[in-house]
């Protein structure tokens, strides 16, 4: 197994393209190292992307945030301006692993590991984040909801790297939130996760919403029906009832040791309501 630390995106793409065996992109390593330890993967080449400047930056330009796919959870947590701008995204990041894991783990890795239960992915989908991806065929932008296609599976083609994430400019009166349900409060995997992102007008009516669910299907879901339940309302009890119904209706979960199909479906509706209540509070403050 070779280990390379390219300094540029072009060099990284070249390394991946010229490897005839199995190559792995390596950022925080909190999934790749576990897969190596358990002999789940046997790569011929590890490409450590942490020395590529664009993958390590967190920048704000005219209200639009962009952060590198290899920025660690801790680095995002330490960025108070980003926390203030996207508190729901940070709700998800803060729930990943332990302090030790967040010292290394990245949002790019959380996405590309492609677990349906990844905590940072639903709030990033709700935030309408765009991934900037580079590969042998050049550079392209992919909406976050279109990247994970199933457990461990993504729409990325061979040799592509997620470089950075772009978040849209936030209108006034916007708020986002992510909640997950787990039996333990820390070091656990979501039974259900839900991200909600809403914008209100000056009168307090919801004019835009995005709702995303994790751990209730083979991939994180963007639930347009749940967003539609909120848009045009004052996010009152009736809207919350419709939100819960739409969220539960979108679920296609599995039965496993963490929860049954019925349980996950019910909890998805409850979590959507609670996340929407937090997002609403943040939009008003």
């Amino acid at each position: 197994m070779r280990y390379e630390v390219p300094e540029t995106l072009d060099a990284a793409v070249g390394l991946l393209a010229s490897e005839s065996g199995v190559a792995k992109v390596f950022a925080g390593g909190t999934d790749v190292m576990v897969q190596l330890h358990l002999d789940l993967i046997e790569p011929d080449l590890i490409v450590d992307v942490k020395n590529i400047p664009e993958m390590r930056e967190v920048v704000e330009e005219d209200g639009r945030w962009r952060f590198g796919a290899a920025v660690t959870g801790k680095e995002l947590m330490d960025n108070s301006a980003f926390n203030a701008a996207w508190p729901g995204v940070m709700d998800g990041v803060r729930l990943i692993g332990s302090v030790q894991v967040r010292g290394r783990a990245t949002v790019g890795g959380n996405l590309c590991n492609a677990s349906p239960a990844a905590d940072s992915v639903p709030p990033m989908i709700a935030a309408d984040a765009i991934a900037s991806v580079i590969g042998p065929n050049g550079r392209r932008d992919i909406p976050l909801a279109d990247i994970v296609t199933g457990p461990g599976q993504t729409s990325l083609v061979e040799g592509e790297i997620v470089v950075s994430f772009k978040l849209p400019k936030r209108p006034a009166n916007s708020g986002d939130a992510y909640l997950r349900f787990t039996p333990r409060t820390e070091m656990d995997i979501a039974v259900v996760g839900c991200g909600v992102n809403i914008t209100l007008d000056d009168a307090g009516s919801c004019i835009a919403a995005r709702v995303s669910l994790g751990a209730v299907a083979a991939r994180p879901l963007l639930v347009e029906g749940a967003a539609d339940a909120l848009i045009g309302t004052k996010v009152n009890d009736d809207a919350m009832e419709a939100l819960a119904g739409a969220a539960s209706a979108a679920c296609e979960p599995i039965d496993d040791k963490r929860g049954t199909i019925e349980y996950r479906t019910e909890v998805a509706g409850v979590l959507a309501q609670r996340a929407a209540a937090i997002a609403l509070e943040r939009a008003k403050s």
Binding site: Y3, F26, Q100, G103, R104
Partner: protein, 158 residues
């Protein structure tokens, strides 16, 4: 397999060694440098027994490649005491009997030290959340929390 040259600083001392990519930082510490104070528990980042800091950031050394230590500054349990003078956290772990078998103790001490460097006056809840990635299967956590609180008081001079 070609080995990579690694030049790293561990507890203030410079070390030069050759690593191959299959070795973790934990393997390097224990097997190459005979620094066996850092323990291997799970090997998958769940238990925190192998906690060290790398450039001041708390990490599980089992989830770091040895080659990544190149150019970095690592702090391990071996660097915590000053000669025979124990760090206040070490002394308080003894005073409060916050250990039994001791496998989790180096990791708990390193993690607690990292906490107090960021937050010299943590609440019980903050300590419990911070140490959630350090598993102990015999002492339980209560005495650990008391020891950290007591050490924090002493270190603040309160």
């Amino acid at each position: 397999m070609a080995k990579k040259y690694v030049n790293t600083t561990i507890n203030g001392d410079q070390h030069e060694l050759l690593c191959d990519a299959t070795q973790t930082l934990l393997d390097i510490l224990r097997d190459e440098l005979d620094m066996t104070g850092t323990k291997e528990g799970c090997g998958t980042g769940d238990c925190g027994a192998c906690s060290v800091t790398m450039d001041g950031v708390l990490v599980c050394s089992c989830l770091v490649m040895g080659v990544e230590a190149n150019g970095k500054s690592i702090e391990t349990i071996e660097g915590m005491a000053d000669g025979d003078d124990l760090h206040p956290l070490q002394q308080k772990f003894i005073d409060h009997i916050a250990l039994q078998c001791g496998i989790c103790t180096p990791g708990l001490l390193i993690a607690s030290k990292a906490l107090l460097s960021e937050n010299p006056d943590p609440t019980e809840e903050e300590i419990r959340y911070w140490l959630a990635g350090n598993l102990c299967r015999c002492t339980g956590y209560h005495k650990v929390i008391e020891a950290v609180q007591d050490a924090a008081r002493e270190m603040r001079g309160a």
